[in-house]
Amino acid sequence: MAAQETCSELDENDAVMSGTTETSSRIVVRVWLAASAITILSLVLGLTGDGAVQQSLGLISVGFIMAVGCCKAWLILRFYLGLGPAAGSWRGLFMAFLIVILVGVFASQGIIVLMMP
């Protein structure tokens, strides 16, 4: 019984350890394509920031750029690192880290906008 439990535990560990065995190559390539596409999108938005576009968008632009960054970070955590639900509370900790960065940058931008004459 104990050996059986250990075996199932090991199987679960192996699935998490390998990460990529449960995430097929096709999914990983799709994730890479999606991350690359949103990188180009945020870069285009960033490059147009010299003009009036980004200024007129203000907080929305910053929110979008940061959301894209955090989205890519989450994709890396979930599909490159293989941190699935089996990773438990550690997965939540990483999500909290991303949220803190997102909220911190967004809040600083909000303060800058409020301070503008």
């Binding site: 390998s18 990529t20 065995t21 190559s25 890479w32 970070a73 550690w90 960065i101 809040a107």
Partner: protein, 204 residues
């Protein structure tokens, strides 16, 4: 040791490093890919980089116009290309992990080599960026923005160099645990950059 204890010993692939019972209790870190000690390092690095980014954002509140002016001197295209380069190297690291899980050592080494090549490309682009800044008379002490820019991106570049070293060592001894550990570190470097890039290069 009792018979029951023997049955609990994990079955490891040839070349895998065995984690003893003493080392097996890592508060759940042992369930993450790679060796748990790497995750201790990853967590501490994320705290450091997270603090850097929050400090950068906080300091920007004091001089938003100056930061925006200095940011215009950054090569955002180079930063964007570097993001794509690291994302691609991360993909190769995943494929290296997949190859070793299928006991394909030569395939794993090839993917690790591809990962390393893209890591070197990242460093070359970063070096070109730094050279352009130095040629323009911009240094570490020019402004607060550039102090933080060089500090954060330089510290990240050092991690890329460290990652290349780890990938090189793992390519010599490509076991499942070694490759998963190296890939975990590389993905951390990758993940940090996708956060550093928008905060320093794009947000205005």
């Amino acid at each position: 040791m009792m018979q029951g204890d023997i049955q609990k010993q994990p079955v490891l692939s040839p070349g895998d490093t065995e984690i003893s019972d003493d080392e097996a209790s890592w508060g759940g870190l042992e369930h993450l890919p790679g060796h748990p000690i790497m995750w201790v390092l990853i967590l501490s690095e994320l705290v450091v980089f997270g603090a850097f980014l929050l400090v950068f954002s906080a300091v920007r509140i004091g001089d938003p116009a100056g930061f925006a002016q200095d940011q215009l001197q950054l090569d955002r295209l180079a930063g964007g290309i570097n993001t794509l380069v690291l994302l691609t190297s991360g993909l190769f690291a995943v494929l290296a992990t997949k190859a070793i899980n299928e006991d394909n050592r030569s395939g794993c080494r090839l993917w690790l080599l591809a990962t390393s090549i893209f890591g070197v490309i990242f460093l070359v682009i970063k070096l070109m960026e730094y050279t352009a800044k130095f040629d323009a008379g911009i240094g570490l002490e020019s402004t607060t923005f550039f102090t933080l820019y060089f500090l954060i991106t330089g510290f990240h570049a050092l991690h890329v160099v460290l990652g290349l070293g780890i990938l090189g060592v793992v390519a010599i001894w490509p076991s499942r645990i070694n490759v998963a550990t190296a890939a975990a570190f590389w993905h951390m470097v990758d993940m940090v950059w996708v956060l550093v890039f928008p905060v320093i290069y794009l947000v205005r």
